[in-house]
Subunit: 438 residues, 2 copies
C-alpha cells in the first residue's frame, strides 16, 4: 500500500461536512478500493466549533486556507469555499504552486480561471479535479474527460440548475405562479434569498462554460454566453406548452456550428416524451452527443451536500490511485480559443406569445409581419380570456400563441420588432425556443 493520502479541507459548510462524514463512514471500503489510507489531516473553516457530524478532532486547524494550502501537512487541497476570486483563488493557486493536488466544487472559480489553473497544475505535475463543480453527483466531467475521449462532440446540453427546474416543475404540476413557486423554493432552501444568480441563468452559464471547454477543447468563456432566465415564464406559457405536447425547461446548450461554438442558456420547450422532459424537481441531467457514442444522457442529484460529496470523493479516489488527466481533458496549450457563434444565426422552431388588443385588423397585422419576414407558422392558437357571450371590447387583451416552423432567429426578432412598432400588442412578446436537439 502507498502511504496515506492527506487531505486539507477548506470550507466546512454543507458539502464540506458531507465530505468529512463520507470519508469517516466509508473509510475502510475506500482505502481498499484505492489501496491507500485517506485522511483529513487539516481543516480551515470560519467557525471551528460548528458541529459537523464527523470527528475532525485530530485534524490540524488553520485560520488561513492559503496557509493550509502551502503547509507540509497535506497532499491535496479540497476547496469548498466558493467564489471566483478572493480566498478560494488564493488558496487554490497556493496549493498548485506548492505542488499539491487540488479538488474544488467551485464552478465560479473554474469558469473564471480554469485555463490558467489547469496550466499551473500541469506545470507542477499535479491534478486539478472539479467533478463537483458541474451537476453535483453526476460524473459528467469524468465522462467527457475520459470515457468519451475518442469522440468528437457535436453538442452538449442539460438541466444544470435545480432551483429553476424545481420552480418550473411546481408551476406545471400545481398551476402556481412563478412568484409563488420561487417563494416556496426559498422556504425549502432550494433558492437563495437573492435568487437572481440561479433564476436568471448565471449559475447554468458557469456550468455550461466548463462543459463547453471539456466537450469541444476550447478555452473557457463564461462571458460570451447568450442568457435568458425563467422569471418571465408565466402559467399561460406552461399551459400552452402542455397543450402543444411540450414541457418548459431551463437548458444550457453548447453546440458546434460552422461559425464557432454556440453557448446559450434559456427556457426551452422540450417534447414531453423526451428523456430530458422527465427530469423533475431539483434533479439535473446532461446529454452529450458524440460522433461515435451517439447521444448519452446522465441524470441525478445536481446539488445537495451528500451528492456533491460523492463527486469530491470520486476526485479524491482518482488522486489516491494516481490517475492524472489534464484538468480540461487535454493539455492547456492544445485548447483552442473560444469562437462564439452568432446567436442570431440560431435556427429552430419558436413559440411566441403575444398579448393582442382585440380590435379589427390586429391579427392580420401580425400575420403580415411574420409573412414579410418569411416565417411560416405551424400553428396559431388564440384563447379568449373573456366570457364567450360578451361583446367585443377593444380594450380587452387576448393571448395569441404562434408556433413557427424551423426558421432563423434573426427573422423572428425582426418580425417581433415590427409588430411592437405596429402597436397591436401590449407588453413585450414572449419568445421561447423549441428545442430539437433530441
Amino acid at each position: 500500500m502507498d502511504k496515506q493520502l492527506r487531505l486539507g479541507l477548506a470550507g466546512l459548510g454543507t458539502v464540506g461536512s458531507s465530505v468529512a462524514r463520507l470519508i469517516e463512514r466509508n473509510r475502510v471500503e475506500l482505502a481498499g478500493k484505492c489501496q491507500r489510507g485517506i485522511e483529513i489531516t487539516a481543516v480551515s473553516a470560519r467557525d471551528p466549533n460548528k458541529a459537523r457530524g464527523a470527528d475532525l478532532g485530530s485534524a490540524m486547524w488553520f485560520d488561513d486556507a492559503a496557509e493550509m494550502a502551502r503547509s507540509a501537512e497535506i497532499d491535496v487541497l479540497i476547496e469548498l469555499i466558493g467564489g471566483a476570486d478572493g480566498i478560494a483563488y488564493e488558496a487554490v493557486t497556493a496549493a498548485l504552486t506548492s505542488g499539491k493536488h487540488v479538488i474544488t466544487a467551485n464552478k465560479a472559480l473554474i469558469a473564471a480561471h480554469g485555463v490558467e489553473l489547469a496550466r499551473l497544475a500541469e506545470t507542477r505535475g499535479v491534478s486539478l479535479n472539479f467533478e463537483a463543480a458541474v451537476a453535483g453527483g453526476i460524473p459528467v466531467v469524468k465522462t467527457l474527460r475520459e470515457a468519451l475521449a475518442g469522440n468528437r462532440v457535436s453538442h452538449v446540453y442539460g438541466i444544470l440548475n435545480g432551483t429553476c427546474n424545481y420552480i418550473l416543475t411546481r408551476m406545471e404540476r400545481e398551476h402556481l405562479s412563478f412568484e409563488a413557486c420561487l417563494k416556496r423554493a426559498q422556504e425549502l432552501g432550494y433558492a437563495e434569498a437573492d435568487p437572481t444568480f440561479d433564476i436568471e441563468g448565471h449559475d447554468t452559464a458557469h456550468k455550461l462554460a466548463i462543459l463547453t471547454s471539456l466537450a469541444f477543447g476550447t478555452e473557457i468563456s463564461d462571458e460570451d454566453i447568450y442568457m435568458e432566465g425563467i422569471s418571465s415564464i408565466t402559467t399561460a406559457d406552461i399551459e400552452a406548452a402542455d397543450d402543444l405536447g411540450y414541457r418548459i425547461k431551463l437548458l444550457g446548450v453548447a453546440q458546434r456550428t460552422e461559425s464557432g461554438i454556440e453557448q446559450r442558456v434559456h427556457p426551452a420547450m422540450v417534447p414531453k416524451a423526451s428523456a430530458i422532459a422527465q427530469i423533475d424537481g431539483v434533479t439535473n441531467a446532461v446529454a452529450i452527443d458524440g460522433d461515435f457514442v451517439g447521444e448519452i444522457v446522465l441524470a441525478g442529484a445536481g446539488a445537495g451536500g451528500d451528492a456533491t460529496a460523492s463527486a469530491v470523493v470520486g476526485d479524491i479516489a482518482d488522486i489516491a490511485r494516481s490517475i492524472r488527466v489534464p484538468a480540461l481533458g487535454r493539455p492547456a496549450d492544445l485548447l483552442t480559443p473560444y469562437v462564439r457563434a452568432r446567436m442570431r444565426a440560431h435556427e429552430g422552431g419558436y413559440y411566441i406569445r403575444l398579448m393582442v388588443q382585440d380590435r379589427p385588423g390586429a391579427f392580420a397585422a401580425i400575420a403580415t409581419r411574420m409573412s414579410e419576414k418569411g416565417i411560416s407558422l405551424q400553428s396559431i392558437v388564440q384563447k379568449d380570456l373573456a366570457e364567450p357571450t360578451r361583446a367585443r371590447d377593444e380594450n380587452a387583451l387576448k393571448p395569441v400563441i404562434l408556433i413557427t416552423y424551423d426558421t432563423m432567429e434573426a427573422g423572428v426578432r425582426e418580425a417581433l420588432e415590427l409588430i411592437e412598432a405596429d402597436n397591436v400588442i401590449v407588453g413585450p412578446p414572449q419568445l421561447i425556443r423549441i428545442e430539437k436537439l433530441y
Copy 2:
C-alpha cells in the same frame, strides 16, 4: 510525449471495424488528449481481405490471436472475438501473462472468468478494461469503478438488452404480438437467428453479473441469477400495464439485502412517469443508487459498432494516459464471495394474469387462495372477451388481472400453485413484478 501506444486488434467484425475507423478519423484529437500517438500495429481476423472502412495496410497480420497477444509488436490487446472460452480466453490470458494490457468487449468472458483475469492483470501490473462489455457506449464501468468510489451502493438495475427493449417497445406502440416483433427485430439485425440468448435474459444476466461485482465488491457469479425472459409477455399484459399506468421492461436488478445480494433478470412493470420507462427501442439505461450520490441514471446506445467502439477507445485512452485501476474496482483479494439472497424472499407488488373458466365459484376460489396466503389485492380487473350480450359459457375463458399490494414472493407462488391445483384456471399464470426501486 510518451512513446506511441501500439494496439493489437483481435476480431474485425462490426465493433472492430468501428474501432479502426474511430482511431483513423479522430487520431489527432486523441493523440492530443492522451499526449501520445495511438496506432493499430497488429490485427488478427478470420478474413484479412474484408473491407472495413479503415486503412489497416500497415498493420501486421496474425492468423492466431494468441500469437499476436504474445508478440513484441503490441502493448495492448483489444479482444473483440467473443465467447467465454476458446480463442478469446486464450488470447486474453496470453496477453496478460506476457505483461500486455487487455481491453475487451466480451461480457461472456468477463462474466465467466473476470475474477481470475483481474487477478492475473494485477499480478502483471497491467490493465484489464471492459467498458464495452456492459451497456455499450454508456460509461457505467468507469462510473462504478471510479466516479462512485466513495459510495456504498444499495442497488443497481437497468435495461441492458436492446433486443428485448426493442421488442417490448414495438409491442406496446403497435399492438403487435411478441412473435411479430421478434421477426421484425431479426429482419433489422437487432436479434440473432437464434434469439434465445437475448430474449430469455442470458445476455442481461451476463452484464448484470459484472455490474454486481463492480457495485458490491463481490466475486462475479453469473450462474446464481434468477432469470425470466420476455417470450411469455403477451399484448394482453402490455395493454393491462398501460391501463394501470405502467410499462413492461426487461430489467436486470442487483440489490443488497440482509441475506446477501439479490440478482434477478425478469420483465417488470415500471411506472410510466419513471425515467426508466422512457427508455425506448434499442437504448440501454442503468440506474445506480449510492448512499451519498443518491440515484443516478445513465442512458445511451447499448450496442452497435460505433457506440461500442467509443467505449473501447475510452479504455484505450485510459491506458495511454497510464490510468490504472483494479479491473473490478478493488484488488481481487478484497472481493468478497457472492452470497445469493433467496429470491423467494423478494418483496414487492405483483401483477398476476390468469385465464379463468367462466363458471360459478371460479373467482371465489381464486380470491380465497390469495386471502389464505395473506395477500392483499390492490385491484382486480376482469375483462370479458365475449360479446356482452352472450349467455354464460362455461367453456369460455376470461382473463383476470390481479394487482397485489407489497407482499412476499413466496406467498404469491404458493397461492398460484394452489389455484392451479384447484383447476379453475387454464394455462400457467402470468406473474410480473411491479418494480418500486425508483
